[in-house]
């Protein structure tokens, strides 16, 4: 019942995946202009900068995650078929991650090259993005479901999501330090909590849309 939903949303998401990826790469390109061409500084701060860019890029797709389906009556059709709201939320989270996480991890390769990150740091960045982006996707869908139909929902979504993503940013960027093996575990714990809690929060938000 759920796999056609994931497929549909993934295809829709991939068609629009260029935008967050382009944003991510432009942010990575702008960083050296802001802090100057000091290669050592860029290599040291670049990983954290890429994590921040990933976080900000995750805000871009939020408006198209739930609102179009709510407007088009698609969510009503799911509900009339007895599909649980939590299932719909989980499908949307999985689809959003599939169309957003891997492209971002690919874009981190040229991003890391632009900032002169060394290979071990790049490896740790990819690992922390692999662990952190599902949680970013889960937060994105939850916030999208919470802000459907509100005026200025795009800006509001950013205000709601960014504070919730602070632990991901701290542990994600923290995991880039070679001596900081605990950060990756804390990132994993945070991401696990967010990713598996989000379908219930987002599902409740979807249910309240119908009242």
């Amino acid at each position: 019942m759920i796999s056609p939903l994931i497929l549909r949303d993934t295809l829709r998401g991939l068609r629009a995946a260029g935008l967050p990826v382009a944003f991510f790469l432009i942010a990575a390109t702008l960083f050296p202009f802001a802090v100057g061409p000091d290669a050592r500084l860029l290599a040291k701060a670049g990983g954290g900068m890429l994590w921040l860019a990933a976080l900000l890029a995750s805000l871009l797709p939020i408006e198209r995650l739930v609102a179009p389906d709510a407007d088009a009556g698609v969510l009503d059709q799911f509900a009339a078929r007895g599909i649980a709201d939590e299932g719909i939320a989980a499908a949307k989270i999985a689809a959003h991650w599939l169309s957003f996480g891997p492209p971002l991890m690919l874009a981190a390769l040229p991003g890391a090259a632009l900032l002169g990150l060394d290979a071990p740091t790049l490896g740790r960045l990819e690992a922390s993005l692999a662990i952190g982006t599902p949680a970013l996707a889960a937060l994105g869908v939850t916030v999208a479901a919470l802000t459907v139909g509100l005026r200025g929902s795009g800006a509001l979504a950013g205000l709601v999501l960014l504070p919730l993503a602070v632990p991901l940013l701290i542990f994600g960027a923290g995991a880039l330090e070679p001596a900081n093996a605990q950060a990756l575990k804390l990132l994993a714990a945070t991401a696990l909590l967010l990713t598996f809690g989000a379908p219930f929060a987002a599902g409740a938000a979807l249910r309240s849309l119908r009242d």
Partner: protein
Amino acid sequence: MLALRDVACLRGDRLLFEGLSLTVAAGEALVVTGPNGVGKSSLLRIAAGLLRPSAGTVERAGRVAWLGEAAALDGDRTLGEALRFWAKLDGTRPEVATEAMGIAHLARVPVRYLSTGQRRRSAIARTVASGAPLWLLDEPANGLDTEGIDRLGDAIRAHRKAGGSIVTATHLPLPIDDAENLVLDGILA
């Protein structure tokens, strides 16, 4: 097929109706009429399980097919793909239904290029293809031309002959034989 007992509907602080009971048996059709804002759509949404009644109980025997105001078809897909997505969820195929609604030739056209009436026919085709025994149709004739309304009437007749039931809220007269009528007059509001 459908049984509502002592159902009440509260929207905001407005009581639309209360103590409403009705049953729809296999092969029956119920036409709900009444002025705008009296709660026809809310009644249908309650029957579909999309809205929780403020009081009372709702029983449905099997699956329902919901036809609401919005077509719920993805604009960037072709009509054939968009209908196949829903048919896959329902475990059916849409081809016979699109033929019956006279939109089979539009299968390769992206949904965003379709007119209001063509979208409405497509949404009806999804309802027909769903195979659900109970159809809940909210203003099904909106945007349809006379030929479309005739095709809708034929689809409803065939559905009832096969033992299905319908509940519809409508302002436009529909070609439905020996239907039960429920007039919501809003004396409560």
